[in-house]
Assembly symmetry: C2
């Protein structure tokens, strides 16, 4: 926008080419990724065919105005751009002698490969095709171009497509029919005359199906193509893709119109795609593929298996081009500061760059590349942190094949090897279609989707599958590309495999597997096995958790650790973990957790036979409460009280007895946690779930319990009924339990303080218990529980004749808690947002029941993301902000955390950073994700107390880069 002209309406069309451009890489949101990079490449001296970009604002306008265009877009802006293009190329749009032909491509802010439509060879018509023939002296080439253009245009712009799944594509059908008439079996054997006839039939087909003529006027063609690109922004595939990657639907796409260069003009022409480094594993090697005499789409589609880019070095025709490409490779990394994924075309021995972008990469490649390029000073540390997808770090923890079992499989079930396009191990049931993959996955099976090749239609199935295996297609094929982006395990182009969809089989070297049978693929090595293979810990887990591998022996760990430490320099948010067990806690510490943000004490209740004591406590709780209430009424009347004590003797004995049994058990639990956290803070939440969750189901289990407690079965059943709730989520739980049964709060507090004192004494280390009261909505609730906790701590401190620092705080997990945070802050020493419940109450939406309507909501765009995965910033987030605004003045220096499942979600973490939380707490395995996401948030939004930013930034960063 900075470069927009001062004219009244915004600048809708940006020219590029000839070493100058209207735009540059900074205008990505306006020009799309492709358009911005084309402009940038042109500026930086790469050879780019001239062209222009119609901005994303036009797309936005298009959808906001009933699919119409800004005034004068075609008549003035585009017409002028075409004139400029004509001047630059010396050709004329529709010129019968020297026609300008263009490609029309989509280009969104974030690349959405294969999701939207592309038109090539636009400008061809019955007249200009003759000029192309004359100019190239190749009639077959010219009419093949025209044939392709008519077919593409008929399909994409005019909507001539197959009408049912079983129908053949109408253009393919027409071609096949002609070939049959002619007795010609291969496309390449069709002559110029054949093609002339085919084009006639195509044009007739279009007229027949649409009632409209195929447009001969290039401007009309262009208008149609631009419209088709904008329309494709809202096709189902594209919407699905954006939903998955959380790309806002409002962004829109730009349209790039570029002078055609032909990679298919003959044997001195060609086309290719390449990465400056290996995007699957991050190795510093030139990585890509090319096809001679082909157009770019041929490479991506995976129909012809291309050659490795490195083979070009020894090619007779292209070895010189290869040298140029090596220079391009180095220049790209230097100029763009990251691995580049670029497309090129060779038209009659001349190299053109068609696009470049930061290469999508697997998590493994991400850490490796970040490590290597920062060390080589090719990448800034900031970019290293910013360029990773935190969510994808999950991949580094995904299981790999068990060494022994894979060795055995190699002997008994080896099938073949393909291209290792997505590292990892996938083992599951064969599905030959995307639909089948979805079905099997929905039924709970692990699936490997096996196809000859994949196409954008297969996206849902690919998402559902554990891994993807294709018989055709190279490292740049659709399958490889999607696998890279989604972190799917993928083996591509395993050429020995034949998939027969009709028979439902996959055949390889004489062995035949049927759909539904087992298969395993190793995306790190490319090997394929005809059975399931056992899995074991990922390399990272072997180093960090199992400690079966030494850090120095793992390159992957080195790279991961480098990136994590880099992230830690930038982030200002603390990272804690949700853990209830010592081993969980230790794992989390290994991943970098700085404390426990949530220990759910009730998880401990289910372990071993202690559940019996819990149930005993519950069974007699109500009677005990009655006893207390009646005693209070009879206060002063000792006789009456004695009588009540007799009457309720059983309840008193059991209730107090059960608590007495639980006390030492809970204390031991806490001791384990405190020890494993070795001085780090541990937030313990008091009992939260409704009591009926602890009861057994009716039947044998209940009978068993009745026997154990020596009461009648009916009594236990009656208790089940009496504890039944209409809306348990909003029922008798959280601090409401501790208020009705203060003895439970007392027992838990005592277990905590005793454990803390014991561990402090034993280890000599600091122990920092933080007691957390759940579900507080009223300050008096907190006050009530607080008094009990402080009372118990004081008692135990007195008994032990020592003290230790501790905090008492509360969860903010119902709207009233947030709305009255100023009152509650008078008592709380910390707040932790329980965003699971806060989301349910703020939205009035039960997570367990939302399955009936939430899918409709996502489809209709009512919600952008699943609010139970990523925080709803406008609603729930607003309450969080209100909480901070209200409470901060009441208690300066208050600690704020989040301990809902959102705590491990990158966009939630970014939000938490922005509003000023102290820490996020997530499950142990998400700690690395949180570290990276927190660092990115700090880089994006800054922070006054940023660890790095506060000091001398560049010096520090160089040191980091040098050290790692």
């Amino acid at each position: 926008m900075a470069k927009a002209t001062a004219s009244k309406s915004p600048k809708y069309v940006y020219h590029f080419g000839g070493g100058k451009s209207d735009g540059d890489a900074s205008l990505k949101s306006l020009l799309g990724g492709k358009g911005a990079n084309l402009a940038e490449m042109s500026r930086r001296g790469f050879e780019v065919p001239d062209g222009f970009t119609i901005t994303t604002e036009v797309c936005t306008y298009y959808y906001a105005n009933k699919k119409s265009y800004p005034k004068g877009l075609f008549e003035v802006d585009t017409a002028n751009a075409i004139k400029k293009l004509e001047k630059a190329t010396g050709k004329g749009f529709g010129d019968a002698k020297n026609p300008l032909l263009v490609s029309v491509r989509s280009g969104a802010r974030d690349s959405m490969p294969g999701m939207m439509d592309t038109i090539l060879n636009l400008g061809l018509n019955d007249k200009t095709v003759e000029a192309l023939k004359a100019k190239t002296k190749n009639g077959r080439f010219a009419f093949d171009c025209y044939r392709r253009f008519v077919q593409m245009y008929g399909d994409v712009v005019m909507g001539v497509q197959k009408r049912s799944e079983n129908e053949a594509d109408p253009f393919e059908h027409t071609m096949e029919a002609l070939k049959e008439e002619l007795g010609v079996h291969e496309d390449s054997l069709l002559t110029e005359d054949h093609l002339r006839e085919l084009i006639k039939r195509y044009i007739a087909l279009i007229k027949d199906r649409t009632g409209k003529a195929f447009p001969q006027n290039p401007f009309e063609q262009l208008k149609g193509a631009v419209g088709a690109v904008f329309s494709s922004w809202m096709n189902d595939r594209a919407i699905l893709y954006r939903n998955k990657y959380k790309i806002p639907h409002e962004w829109g796409t730009a349209v790039n119109v570029q002078a055609m260069v032909f990679g298919n003009m003959g044997d001195t022409s060609g086309t290719g795609v390449a990465f400056t480094r290996n995007p699957a594993n991050g190795a510093n090697e030139f990585y890509g593929e090319y096809l001679a005499n082909a157009q770019g789409e041929d490479v991506v589609a995976g129909i012809r298996t291309p050659l490795k880019i490195t083979d070009m070095a020894t090619d007779k025709v292209f070895s010189g081009i290869y040298k140029q490409l090596l220079k391009v490779r180095a220049k790209l990394e230097k100029e763009f500061g990251d691995v580049q994924d670029f497309e090129f075309t060779i038209e009659d021995r001349k190299l053109y760059m068609l696009q470049t972008r930061h290469g999508k990469r697997t998590a493994q490649a991400y850490v490796k590349i970040a490590h290597d390029m920062v060390k080589a000073k090719l990448m800034t540390p900031e970019h290293a942190v910013k360029s990773g997808d935190p969510q994808a770090l999950d991949q580094l923890l995904a299981p790999i094949f068990d060494g022994a079992d894979e060795k055995a499989a190699e002997k008994d079930s080896y099938l073949t090897a393909g291209l290792p396009a997505g590292p990892g191990a996938a083992s599951g049931t064969i599905a030959l279609t995307a639909k089948k993959a979805e079905e099997l996955a929905a039924a709970g099976q692990k699936v490997v989707l096996c196809r000859t090749e994949t196409s954008p239609e297969d996206l849902r199935g690919m998402i559902a599958a554990e891994g993807i295996l294709t018989a055709r297609g190279g490292v740049s094929s659709h399958a490889a590309l999607v696998a890279r982006q989604m972190g799917k395990v993928c083996v591509a182009g395993a050429g020995e495999i034949t998939v027969d969809y009709d028979k439902g089989t996959l055949t390889c070297n004489g062995k035949t597997l049927r759909e539904g049978e087992a298969i395993a693929i190793n995306g790190t090595t490319g090997k394929v096995y005809g059975r399931k293979v056992k899995t074991s810990d990922s390399e990272l887990l072997q180093v960090l958790v199992a400690k079966t591998m030494k850090p120095k022996d793992s390159d992957l760990f080195q790279a991961y650790d480098f990136v994590m430490k880099l992230a830690d320099k930038y982030r200002t948010l603390g990272i804690r973990t949700n853990a209830d067990q010592p081993d969980q806690a230790s794992n989390a510490v290994a991943f970098g957790a700085e404390g426990i943000g949530l220990c759910r004490t009730e998880h401990m209740f289910f372990e071993g036979d202690r559940i019996d004591s819990v149930r005993e406590m519950i069974l007699f709780a109500e009677d005990y409460a009655k006893f207390k209430a009646e005693s209070e009424e009879a206060k002063g009347d000792d006789q009456k009280i004695a009588q009540l004590k007799g009457q309720y003797a059983q309840a008193i004995d059991h209730f107090k007895g059960a608590l007495a049994k639980l006390l030492p058990v809970q204390q031991k639990d806490f001791e384990g946690l405190f020890e494993s956290m070795a001085g780090r803070p541990v937030t313990v939440r008091l009992l939260d779930p409704p009591l009926h969750e602890f009861l057994p189901q009716a039947g044998p289990q209940m009978e068993d319990l009745a026997k154990k407690l020596g009461v009648k079965y009916d009594r236990i059943e009656a208790l089940g009924h009496s504890l039944h709730e209409f809306n348990p989520m909003l029922g008798h739980r959280g601090c409401r339990l501790g208020i009705v049964y203060p003895e439970i709060t007392e027992m838990q507090s005592r277990a905590i303080v005793r454990a803390a004192l014991a561990v402090a004494k034993k280890t000599g280390k600091k122990v920092v218990p933080e007691v957390m009261i759940p579900l507080v909505g009223f300050q008096q609730e907190l006050k009530n529980q607080l008094d009990i906790v402080h009372g118990v701590f004081a008692e135990e401190f007195a008994k032990a004749k020592t003290k230790l620092p501790y905090l008492v705080g509360t969860m903010i997990e119902i709207p009233r808690g947030a709305l009255t945070a100023d009152e509650i802050a008078e008592h709380a020493e910390f707040f932790s947002f329980g965003t699971n419940d806060l989301t349910q109450t703020t939205m009035g939406m039960s997570r367990d029941d939302s399955g009936k309507f939430l899918p409709y909501y996502q489809k209709l765009g009512i919600v952008k993301a699943n609010p139970f995965a990523s925080i709803d910033q406008a609603g729930v987030g607003q309450l969080m902000e209100i909480t901070l605004q209200k409470s901060a003045p009441v208690r300066p220096g208050m600690k704020y955390g989040i301990c809902g499942e959102h705590g491990g979600d990158p966009s939630t973490i970014e939000f938490c950073h922005k509003i000023g939380l102290t820490y996020v707490s997530c499950s142990p395995f998400r700690v690395p994700i949180a570290r990276l996401a927190a660092a990115q948030a700090a880089l994006r939004h800054g922070s006054k107390n940023a660890k790095v930013a506060a000091k001398a930034k560049p010096a520090k960063l160089k040191a980091v880069a040098g050290k790692g």
Copy 2:
């Protein structure tokens, strides 16, 4: 506070008496009601014994500071006040010759009769009692005073009380023992010497029980008594009382210390209580009672049945006093502008006023008095509106006895007649103790509590009972007083009745009824019947609803109508009603409703056999939705769609068929409503509850449904399971139904618009439908439903070739809706707060499940009132305010309503007025309450657009007063 001195600490002690006072009636919150009015009476020339008031601020201080007092309170402030009192009375505190004796009484801002403790004759000790004897020349009197004081002090201040329910009061026991020793049967026969012995024993008893001596020092006595009064503020009775009347516990009580005057000094002394008008029915008659030679407590306690105040006119000793009292009566009404409830004492033919206050009255008396006094210009119209308890208007709608059946009962079951102390009809089971009354009521029975007399201990039982019958006590007895205040039906002092608690019987003129048998009391006439008597509509209902009585024939209606019209002049809030049926709607209009604020369409679903169609719709809804989803996926593939249509034929037929059947039925419902509202706006809420609520329970009903719909039983059962929800309150309901099943929204919208068009055509009157979308949390939800509604309305308008104005709005009932009200307001034309659900979600508290802990919350003071009855202003109310703040700028002139059950709660209505709602909507019978509450809110808080305030106020008001 305005009169507080400029000294550093606040003024804690206020003097009154001798025609001058430190305070006045405006200082009610500081001095309590009694203290302020004593000050005011003294200023206005009534004869008041001198005294001083210790302010409520001391009480607040006392509880905020671990039951301690402000520095110098006793040493300086109280000591000075006593000095002033000594000077005014010419007596000395503890003086052995002319001792100053005082009473110490509580006095809260709002009167809490009998709830807190009182001490009389303070200042008496072993020495001063002799002086009193000398001065009065009446040893028996002096020692009886001392005896009473020691007893009262021992009980109230030193806590010597019975230790169990069965034990006798220890002082009574001591007295009885002495009487037995002496062979004396009546208290009055105890001589001075007997009393001297009794006092000795009392003092010994105190020492024995408490280990402390009875204090002889008057200052020490005073300090103890003041402490006891403050302590009694927090006794269980007082807390219960305040909870019932929503008096804040923070207010605290003042303490009034006043020179004693003795009504028990002999036959020329006496005491009494009186109302300037009849507080039970409002009649303009002098009403009250007195006792010669008695202290005030004797009258209230109901132990001796007092004489009617009007009997005094012909009394030899007191006829002169009666003339003075008539003057006092007139002066009181004139000076205080309302009916006064006052207490007086005659000490040796001299009349003293001990207190006055606005008289508590029944609802019937309230409207009558307001009507009469405003017309007589004795009361301002503002005060007439402000002085009523809106909630109490309920009493005017309570059933009265059926004329015929009461006539029959008069013949077959007449027992006796007592004082008509609380108008109305109560018929039920006899309970002789408060506890029994509570038990029977808890078991669902209607109860009449029958006692010799009632005392504050009986409060819970009185609350539980339908009516109260006492054998002793007059119009000022505890029973009569509580009945008046609570609007309980009450017959007091039915002297022919004898209650035998041991035998569990009630005897009257030879007839004996047992506890558990039936009885009926008419609180309007005082008659008592020994069986149940049928009830019929209240007089007001007979006039307004049944129309069996003409307005002009009902004085009660005249008075009611006068007050309602007065209220309407002041209120600015609109009053609507929640109604789903034409007759409900008509009733509401009769009560003054100005529109329907909530018509729950689903209530209509249950009527007649239409529930079958509803169930048919539900049964096939999911399959229909599947059909739609799959059709959409197959878009363009006509063959596939045809196949789907075949596959889902049954679901399509049934689902659409059921909707088609419901459409005309719903239309008819709406026509009825529109007609009965005759041009007033009608807000129709679209389907809200989760679908499973419409399904039958398992078993025969399900089988029946299966047969009717021609499907298998299993299928219906399976549907039940599939619709089951964990938290239905947060589940698939509200607009979530209309989004998944837009056909339902469409059908309902069509029924509404067709009904509106039909009624407009038929009646020629305006019809104003307001379509309300429930449970909106996201603007896109509303947009989605809005598009359907507008589409249907446009279609039907086009078909009918006419239009009518209508609105589409939404409920704000989940926090997210409130928090994003600015976004939602872009689409909504009105907001209606659904405070039932908003309370549940904001508090994370299910109303249905809160019974397990909410009672604890109320007891512990965590919540002040039941948040489902009276809006939680700090939490839920805050969200309402946020809604207004955010949405008002987006859509100026937006209509705001409330349609939760809170809409009929006076304190909620006050809140709604304050934050600026347009209207409240409540159930038809609560409309009068809402009208009065809204007027009071306007008077209390003003309003820029107040109907009255905007115009010339005094002139207008005079007109009202003159007209009514």
